[in-house]
Symmetry: D2
Subunit: 154 residues, 4 copies
């Protein structure tokens, strides 16, 4: 199935997206969840193939994709809207709701990758550059334990 949309998938098709056995407690060993092996380029390529196969390039202008992303963002927010504060690992949500969260953040990510491509921006380089810029904007010695905006450190 996946062969249609990506060459050489490195992750199984119907995985359990939730961290196994994670309980949300302070000393849970699974707390520092790792992501499975997948590159930004893998996602870009999968998405490119998906869209080409369906002849959808015509619809994916930058602002169309931008608004599509807002739409997915709204769907994600709806899951949380009446929940009040929720804890790490989302123990307050049902398993269906947690699965739904995984679907919506995936949709946002796929559109984000698509948007970067439409803008001819290398998302990998952009992220590295931004992380470096953030490190300068928020020096460890000044920003430690503070939620201030970076302008307060200048």
């Amino acid at each position: 199935m996946m062969e249609n949309i990506v060459t050489g998938p490195r992750v199984d098709v119907e995985p359990d997206i939730l961290s196994e056995g994670c309980c949300g407690s302070q000393d849970c060993e699974n707390k520092s969840l790792k992501f499975s092996d997948l590159s930004l380029e893998d996602v870009r390529k999968m998405n490119e193939n998906f869209i080409k196969e369906r002849n959808w390039d015509q619809f994916h202008s930058p602002r169309n994709v931008l608004l599509a992303m807002v739409g997915e963002f709204g769907e994600l927010s709806e899951i949380f809207q009446w929940k009040g504060e929720v804890s790490e690992g989302l123990p307050e949500l049902t398993e269906d709701e947690r699965k739904h969260v995984g679907e919506e953040i995936s949709d946002i990510f796929i559109y984000l990758v698509d948007f970067a491509s439409r803008c001819h921006i290398d998302l990998s380089k952009a992220v590295i550059a931004k992380m470096a810029a953030n490190a300068k904007k928020y020096p460890v010695d000044k920003a430690y334990g503070q939620a201030n905006k970076y302008t307060d450190y200048q």
Copy 2:
């Protein structure tokens, strides 16, 4: 510098995030931009280190991060708000504006990775699963060249 926030960066620190030489024309060879080598786990690890060094875990509850993502989304939208329709590669924007777009989509992506971690969701697996689900929801033979919602194909 980068050594502080990530072990073994595979991309240069101050890169030109924009695809070189891309001109926006239909037959531009650079059109099918590739992303540089970077994995979702690389980004997760960079972000985890960044936050730990600053003792910011206390602020990153799931809904806090969700709202922070909405904030970045707003900043991205502001760049496009008075532009009318824009073309692939954003030739209508200045170079500063294109760089700004790269910064904002990076911020969204970093928060998205952070949010997935807080939710204990393996974003790599979630994306693969969603791409497979999308392929089923939008069969090529029915969805070809159509912008309908998937419910129209059921």
Copy 3:
């Protein structure tokens, strides 16, 4: 029916929300659409009664309502996401889609009124104050025909 949710409605219950006869052309007489008589306080009161009758106050914390508003915003954006640029009066949309737009902007407005109330902010006064501030930020002689940010005029 409406008597349940508001005292003394000044607008019919099932109105045609779309401007009659407006054709989208440059010289259409209906172009300067007027809104029917309704005050912000009317909407606040309607919403307050609606929520009290359903014992929903417990769910309407400020951040819950904020996320609910993001959700409605996403639904509005979805209507426009694959449309490309659209014209005044939305002639490119079907009548059902235009009606849907009316529903979503109403949901956003109702949540906005609710949010202001939860924050103990007098939305009427706030709007008047902001319009006055905007007039100062964008002096007519400098901002005429310009889409610049206000910081360019300081």
Copy 4:
């Protein structure tokens, strides 16, 4: 000053937008805040004049205004992003922050009114119609004290 942007303002120009004396306690008499006298049409007219004076109609296409609204939404979310849950009346925020909230919800409202006008939708009628529809979707006897989606009541 205001005479430039609206004829016959019914609210003072530089008001205190915050409810006087409200303390956030359960039995505060000011809890049921009322909005000052202002109609949706007043806001529409103010905004129309503001834009005409600056020759800005050319920028206010429906999707431009939609994205501008997303931008303001982001600014509102930023105020709340690191706050955790906040209480009615926003006692956890500084007075400057509360004032800022008033500015951002005003910006959202002004763009919403502008957007409705561009779509040729009578926002007053649309809101009344949506409140009536909501009352049918969420019958008091079934929805009392429940945060379910309306589809659960059908």
